[in-house]
Structure formats: structure tokens, C-alpha cells
């Protein structure tokens, strides 16, 4: 399986997810919504497995490859949220986001090669990246909701139930962020002999994590100040962007051991 076939698998997957999103709005569509979303996920996952086999390594090294996982985890995040809290619109939303990332990969595929430096050849590699991508999907969803609320509800008060949705997404996202970070630390210890070295990528990962912790604790302190809390979500998401790909461009991060091509 190569990048050339991506469109033939991605489009049917997106169609399944759209069908799932549609049924989520129907009164009796709960099971169908789940079925279609899962079908799309299985199809999409088959492409990832195909890439994995043809590259003979986990497809997680280049930005394009991490976007692949991101497009995969967004509908999963949506599905979990849907099943757990029954928000009708969440599947449309995760489908749209995932579609955007699929389009980026279609328009700007990046060169893929098999080479994987020895430090990355580790059983920690896959869980580390997968957990992080799942966290990014959750936190990306919370950022879009925060943005929407800040823009559209400028004059009216923001109701508590939508704030608890943000809390839920951030809690789940932060849980996974923590796990991804700790896996990274354990792995670094195996590969380099130290779990944390304040390398630029690690520094921004710490900043991102602190940002979300700040949100969590701010919410405990000031239940009522919704706008500042939402601002914190956006700010933390900005930190996350710097950590994910911003460090590749940051002058202070040249020479980071975690910047690959």
C-alpha cells in the first residue's frame, strides 16, 4: 500500500463517517451512527496497516504520517464522546476535522522513506505517538469549541453544560497527554539514559501540559469565569501546535534530537 492509493480509501471512509454523523441526528439512529463510524474507521485503519507493512516500520515518522493517525483518531474521539455523553453534533464535527487533515495529506503528501534511525526503533515508538495523537484529537476538539464559543457567544452568557463538555474533553485529552509524555520519558531512558533533558521538543511538551493543568485548576477555582477558561484552552492549544510542528521552524530548536527531517 502506498500513498498513491490514499484517496481511494480515505474518500469512502469519509463517506461512512458522514453517514454516521447524519444518523446521529436521527432519533433512532444511535446504532447506525456507531456502525457507520466504525466501518469508516476499519477501512481507514486498513490503509494505515498497509502503509505500515509496505514501509516495514510504523508510519509515524514524518508530519504526513502523524497527520494520518490524527485523521484516524478524531472520529474515534468523536465516537467515544458520542457514546459517553450523546452529543448529537459531535460526529459531524469530528468528521469535518478529520476531513481537513485528510485533505492536507492529499494536497501535500510528504516524501516517505523507510529509513528509521536506530533510536526510533523501539517498542515504545508506536504507543508514544498513538497516545499523543489521540490526546491532540481531543484537545483539538476542545480548542475549536472554545473558539466557537468565544466568537459566537460574545454577548450572551455561556451555559454550564457546554463548559462541562470542554472540561470532559480537556480531562480526557490531558490524561492521554500525560500518558504520552510519561511513555516518552520511559523510552528516552531506554534509548539515551535520561528521561528528561529539556530538549526543545520536550520543553514545549512540558509547556503544553502545564497549560492544560492550568485550565483544569483554574476551573476548580473559578467556576464562573468562563471566558478566561476558554482563552486558556486556546492558548494551550497554541503551545501544542508549537510542540507538534512549530519546533521544526523555531531557531532555538535547531539541533533538537527530536526534529526529524
Amino acid at each position: 500500500m502506498s500513498w498513491d492509493y490514499f484517496i481511494y480509501i480515505a474518500l469512502p471512509s469519509v463517506l461512512c463517517w458522514i453517514a454516521g454523523a447524519y444518523f446521529a441526528y436521527k432519533a433512532t439512529g444511535y446504532k447506525k451512527a456507531i456502525a457507520f463510524t466504525v466501518a469508516g474507521l476499519l477501512l481507514f485503519f486498513s490503509f494505515i496497516i498497509g502503509m505500515w507493512m509496505s514501509l516495514e516500520r510504523p508510519p509515524m515518522r514524518t508530519m504526513g504520517e502523524t497527520r494520518l493517525w490524527y485523521s484516524f483518531f478524531l472520529p474515534i474521539a468523536g465516537l467515544i464522546t458520542y457514546v459517553r455523553w450523546r452529543y448529537k453534533w459531535i460526529l459531524s464535527f469530528s468528521t469535518l476535522l478529520s476531513f481537513v487533515f485528510i485533505c492536507i495529506n492529499l494536497l501535500k503528501p510528504e516524501i516517505h522513506n523507510k529509513a528509521l534511525m536506530p533510536a526510533l526503533q523501539s517498542p515504545w515508538f508506536a504507543p508514544h505517538v498513538i497516545v499523543y495523537m489521540f490526546a491532540y484529537a481531543m484537545l483539538g476538539a476542545s480548542a475549536i469549541i472554545a473558539f466557537y464559543l468565544l466568537v459566537s457567544k460574545r454577548k450572551v452568557t455561556i451555559d454550564r453544560s457546554i463548559m462541562s463538555l470542554c472540561d470532559n474533553l480537556v480531562y480526557v485529552g490531558t490524561a492521554f497527554l500525560t500518558i504520552g509524555m510519561l511513555f516518552g520519558a520511559l523510552w528516552a531512558k531506554e534509548a539515551w539514559g535520561h528521561y528528561w533533558s529539556w530538549d526543545p521538543k520536550e520543553t514545549w511538551a512540558a509547556a503544553t501540559w502545564l497549560g492544560y493543568l492550568l485550565y483544569i485548576h483554574f476551573r476548580l477555582y473559578r467556576q464562573a469565569n468562563h471566558r478566561t477558561a476558554l482563552g486558556l484552552i486556546l492558548f494551550s492549544f497554541l503551545l501544542l501546535q508549537i510542540c507538534w510542528f512549530g519546533v521544526n521552524y523555531l531557531p532555538s530548536a535547531q539541533g533538537s534530537i527530536h526534529v526529524y527531517n
Partner: protein, 340 residues
């Protein structure tokens, strides 16, 4: 007087263990971590150290206050997260002081027991390592087009390459159809008066070479010849395709490097081990890591560099990390408020 001071301390501790203090601790640490991320301060900057200490004190007091009326069901998740972080940070900090990190360079056939510490000074260890052999497995060679004048790989910013996995092989790079007709993974260059030829050569110092026939699809010109990445014995050889571009083979990327070693430790059995990146070895309280090798000799290096780390606080750090992992699972399951 004493009573009054005690009173102040109690007020301070009360505030420091509260939510406002937690927010100040988190935001000030975040602020300095961001400065760190932009390279504006270093980790030994006193501002950073101070905010870190403040963070740790607040975290400790927050935990302490909860402990006073601890209730299992209510507080387990809280304790896993907060105590776990506290332990991990404290142990990592203390561990930094007690951590020993040494480098040992070993050449085949000569057991080595001397190492250099961070300052480059020699230290003797109760441990000797013999390097039986050092091997590098490499990825297949790659071919790139480069600009003759700038030396940049093409196309700019998005260089394309051709991976010579099997031979014969035909593929395209920009306007050129590239046919690889011969691939010698171990080769030696034979330099005649006006050409360079490659022959199979299976001994120390061998390099890799491919024979390429290139055909320009736009103006129908053809070129052929050997391309090689060279090494410490042989010069690299590029194939000039036209005035603008040449075909080159960069050094082959290592897939795996491994040292077959024998470790002699005092009062311990002698052990043989295949040391690789991501596969360190533990012996007598030390962890031995594959660090590097003689890069000039590349594949034919007869020396290997190991890193020896002694970290007595490691189990404590792991305890903290495990607690935090459990805490994260807890955070996930207990994601707070239901839909109103």
C-alpha cells in the same frame, strides 16, 4: 513571639496549599518554561529554578492539606496524580546530584576498565568491558539529484530520492529516467587513467556503488556510469548528468549498530551481551548504553563508545511515574461533570 511566628506560618501554609497558589505556581512555571522554549533563558537560570522550587513547595503543601482529611474513595485519584508528580520531580531532582554518567571508548581485543567522566577526567571502575565485534547494518543506498552549482538536493525543499532496494531497477527523478543495472553493496574503486571502475570487494574498507544508466525524457540525452558514496578509503563518485545536475549517493544511513561485548564485573559472573541502541544492559548497579562509534571509519569502525549510567534514584522516579500513569487513567475514567 514564637506563637505569633507560628501563626504567620500557618496562614502562609494555608494560602500556599490553596487553589490560588496552585494557579500562581502553574502559571509562573509555565511562563518560564515558555521562555526556555524560546531559548531566552537556560535551565540553570535562577528564575527558572526559583519558580520550580515554588511549584514543588505548593504541590507538597497541597498534598499535605488533603492528607489531613484523607478519604480513600474521594482522594485516590487526586493522590495518584499529585503525589506521583511530587515524587517523580523530587527524585529526579535529587537524582541529578547523585547521577553518574560516564563514557567509555573500547577498541576490539583490548578490555577496557577506564572511563572518562563529564569533565573528561579518567575514572577507574569495578567493571571491565571487552568488545568482541562491532557491526553496523545499513539501509539500502539512496540516489539523489543535486544542483551542480549550489550543491542543494533537488527538487529544492522537497528532495526526491530513489531507494536502491533491488537491482535491476528503473525509476524517475525529475526529468531523468534512472536505470540501476548493477549494485555492489561491498565494492572497491579501481582508478584507471581516465575512468573509475568498481569491483566487488569483500573486505575491510569496502564501500557501496551502483552502475546507473540515465535517460533524459525531455531532451533525449543519455549518460551512464558509477555512483558511489565513498568512505574513509575511497573517494565518493558522482555522475554528472548535464550542466545543471549530478546524481549522487549520500552516505548510507545506519539501520542498527550493535556491539558484541563481554562484561567482567567484580564478584559477578562474566556476561556476554549484544548491546544496541534501545537495548541497554544492566550490571552491578550500572546501565550500559550503546552511544556511538568511530564515525570516520563508519561501518568498519573497530571502536565503540558506551555510556555508563548509575542512577540510584531511578526506582523512586519510576514509582512516581507509575503513580501518575494510574492517575491519568483515573482522570480519563472520572472525567468530571455529566451533561447538565
Amino acid at each position: 513571639m514564637v506563637k505569633q511566628l507560628w501563626g504567620y506560618a500557618a496562614v502562609a501554609a494555608r494560602w500556599l496549599s490553596g487553589r490560588v497558589a496552585a494557579i500562581t505556581a502553574l502559571s509562573s512555571l509555565l511562563f518560564f518554561v515558555i521562555l526556555l522554549g524560546f531559548g531566552l533563558i537556560g535551565i540553570s537560570s535562577w528564575l527558572f529554578v526559583l519558580s520550580f522550587i515554588y511549584f514543588q513547595i505548593v504541590l507538597g503543601l497541597v498534598i499535605f492539606r488533603r492528607l489531613k482529611h484523607f478519604r480513600w474513595k474521594r482522594d485516590t485519584g487526586f493522590m495518584l496524580n499529585h503525589v506521583g508528580l511530587f515524587i517523580a520531580l523530587l527524585a529526579a531532582m535529587l537524582g541529578n546530584g547523585d547521577l553518574q554518567r560516564l563514557h567509555m571508548t573500547v577498541t576490539t581485543d583490548f578490555p577496557e576498565w577506564r572511563v572518562t567522566d563529564e569533565k573528561g577526567e579518567m575514572v577507574e571502575l569495578p567493571l571491565a568491558i571487552e568488545l568482541k565485534s562491532f557491526t553496523i547494518d545499513e539501509y539500502p543506498p539512496k540516489l539523489f539529484l543535486v544542483d551542480n552549482t549550489t550543491g542543494e538536493v533537488l527538487p529544492e525543499k522537497q528532495p526526491q530520492n530513489l531507494l536502491v532496494e533491488d537491482c535491476p531497477l528503473t525509476s524517475r527523478l525529475l526529468d531523468w529516467e534512472i536505470e540501476v543495472t548493477d549494485y555492489l553493496p561491498s565494492a572497491a574503486a579501481m582508478i584507471t587513467k581516465d575512468t573509475v571502475l568498481f569491483k566487488a570487494f569483500h573486505s575491510e574498507g569496502a564501500t557501496s556503488a551502483v552502475y546507473v544508466k540515465a535517460h533524459n525524457m525531455t531532451d533525449d540525452t543519455r549518460r551512464e556510469g558509477w555512483v558511489s558514496c565513498g568512505n574513509f578509503m575511497f573517494q565518493y563518485v558522482a555522475l554528472r548528468l548535464d550542466d545543471r545536475v549530478s546524481l549522487i549517493m549520500p552516505d548510507r544511513e545506519p539501520k542498527r549498530f550493535a556491539s558484541d561485548i563481554i562484561v567482567y564485573a567484580k564478584d559477578k559472573d562474566t556476561r556476554e551481551y549484544m548491546l544496541e541502541v534501545n537495548k541497554p544492559m544492566s550490571v552491578a548497579g550500572w546501565k550500559i548504553y550503546q552511544l556511538s562509534y568511530d564515525e570516520r571509519m563508519g561501518k568498519w569502525s573497530r571502536t565503540s563508545v558506551f555510556e555508563l549510567v548509575r542512577d540510584p534514584w531511578l526506582p523512586t522516579v519510576y514509582l512516581g511515574i507509575l503513580m501518575m500513569l494510574a492517575g491519568a487513567v483515573y482522570l480519563f475514567v472520572s472525567a468530571p461533570v455529566k451533561k447538565d
